[in-house]
Amino acid sequence: MKKGLNEQIVTEISEKKNEPGWMTDFRLQALAIFQKMAMPIWGADLSQLDPYDILYYLKPFEKTEHSWDDVPTNIKNTFEKLGIPQAEQKFLAGVGAQFESELIYKSLQKKWADCGVLFTDMSTGLRDYPELFKKYFATLIPAHDNKFAALNSAVWSGGSFVYVPAGVHIDMPLQAYFRINSMSMGQFERTLIIAEPGSSVHYVEGCSAPAYTKNSLHSAVVELFALRDAHIRYTTIQNWSNNVYNLVTKRAIAYKNAKVEWVDGNFGSKVTMKYPAIILKEPGAKGHIISVAVAGAGQHQDAGGKVIHLAPDTTSNVLAKSISKAGGRSSYRGLLKVIKGAHGAVSRVNCDALLLDDISRTDTYPTVDVQEQQSDIGHEASVSKISDEQVFYLMSRGLSQSAARAMIVNGFIDAFVKELPMEYAVEINRLIAMEMEGSIG
């Protein structure tokens, strides 16, 4: 398989997957849109990214081609320090090992299947549930939404398809983690979650360990549909290796009294552009976005959230935390929109930035567009630094300098970490401690 992108490659991807004609057409149309659209220039610097110099599809047998020996030592060390089991390490490094949790997944899968829950990879979803799939697929994020949504639409591979029937509550998080050898954490994965009325689901993807990839572009699309009274929580922890452009489009729609929560942690990557969005479509819908971005040397985290209030009595809450260190840059870019007639809409947006030194940078680019007077909107932003006094205070109680700084940083993102499943929370605390060790010198 060669690098590059053209109709032949896109057709080949579709053929390899034995897709129906409509999907092949969809992909080709998306490719045409991608080719026509200009690179976005309003956000992070993408001038060094050449999307035509990327490998767009790996045949399954090619996935295991690079070996554990090729994985950089610092990434291996990080796995060790985070306490990631060997089997998972190999997968996370993209070496494609078998994964022992498959068994656990199988037994859970049966339990879910008994309730009518579908949790499978996207290609299987398309093959086995064509009508359901087609009813929702790309309706929230059409190919022409933005250049990278178009790219994903043309070349997508992998990702999860989740369907939760009416009234079904899935009591434990669905983890993409558990079934990694059936899907592989792709470069261009696409996830579609449909929660029928009165159902609830928590979907978790990613891992705090660095996801090593030789490919330098990750461009995913995630669409969530929370029907009446449904509740979807979508948690992402990503730590891409620092050569990766991470350009992701995530959007959710919440119908009457439904609730959607995006919990989004962005570590690593070279450039991240990601703004999880929630459309509060019907009265009583609620949206909650809580995110953390950590930008280190040579990294730009351009992240944020978008909430669009289209109906009365809708509420939203955005909490965005960012940490910049060693010359890294983090930006909050947000949209809050309340249309005329969405009376009683309530929204709170808080962005807090922490700078760990004088050479790092943080900015906020909030857009607030409120057309309804009978609404209650609050927007607050803060920038703080770790003070020498705080560090001295903690050191005077016996903590080393790096432990003191890690404690302050962990405190800063505590509101985020609290939202994570336990094992992720522990990993994040360790990750921060490691980052602090590296940032002193």
Binding site: Y393, L399, S400, M407, F412
Partner: protein, 243 residues
């Protein structure tokens, strides 16, 4: 034993301490009084190792160990404890998490979570804070008095060997002062070798913490030293007649 010899310290290239000599024997309580700007707090911060204070010359030794070459955490591990005049808030970090970590760092031992929780609850209640304060963020949203009480909690949990109280009495009422006295007494009962330096402007704290020696600082030096009787004299006539 703490021996301070000819200690000169500057901040922003301005000399604040200009040759302090002071010896604190094991088991002794020393009060340091003196007008504002005389260098009392500078001495406290220097002993603990605040990075903004630069030692120009002199020494400060804990037994035979030179304190001045150690980072603050190493000094804490040797048993030094500074109760801050203005304790800092650490948002998002609970008192429990913080002190569990500090306790481990100072003792070098991992204490069972349940046992530590009880230990902390006991310390909190003994200074008049509800045990639920263990789950609050360190000093975040605390009143002045609560912050001072939490300093005493930290002291009780970490069990230091040499304590520096930097104006612990500011922001405390009579009950608070009594609490400080009882907390020190409790540690002293466990460890008769405990040394205490109490920096203060006021006589009243010294009713609950009777000093073996009282020092008056002025212009960066110990200008006068006396016994506990000196406190009453200062209260009555000020520093004028002494230094």
């Amino acid at each position: 034993m703490l021996s301070i010899f000819n200690l000169w310290v500057s901040i922003n290239d301005q000399a604040i301490l200009k040759g302090v000599n002071l010896t604190i024997g094991d088991g002794q309580v020393h009060a340091i009084m003196g007008p504002n700007g005389s260098g009392k707090s500078t001495l406290a911060y220097t002993l603990m190792g605040h990075p903004h204070y630069r030692v120009m010359q002199g020494s400060a030794k804990r037994d035979d160990q030179d304190l001045l070459e150690l980072s603050p955490d190493k000094r804490a591990q040797l048993g030094l404890f500074l109760a801050f005049q203005n304790p800092y808030a650490i948002p998002g970090v609970t008192v429990f998490e913080f002190l569990k970590c500090a306790h481990q760092a100072v003792t070098g031992q991992v204490t069972d979570v349940k046992i530590f929780r009880e230990l902390l609850a006991d310390a909190l209640v003994s200074v008049g804070l509800a045990s639920a304060y263990a789950e609050r963020a360190v000093n975040d949203g605390f009143s002045g008095g609560e912050r001072k009480r939490l300093e005493m909690v930290q002291m009780l949990v970490l069990k230091p060997k040499l304590i520096i109280l930097d104006e612990i009495d500011s922001g405390l009422d009579v009950d608070g002062l009594k609490m400080v006295g009882l907390s020190i007494a409790r540690l002293k009962k466990e460890n008769p070798m405990l040394g205490v330096i109490c920096i203060t402007h006021y006589q009243r704290i010294l009713e609950y913490l009777v000093p073996d020696q009282v020092h008056i600082m002025r212009d960066g030096v110990i200008a006068y030293t006396g016994d506990a009787g000196l406190v009453a004299q200062v209260e009555k006539s000020g520093y004028a007649g002494l230094v």
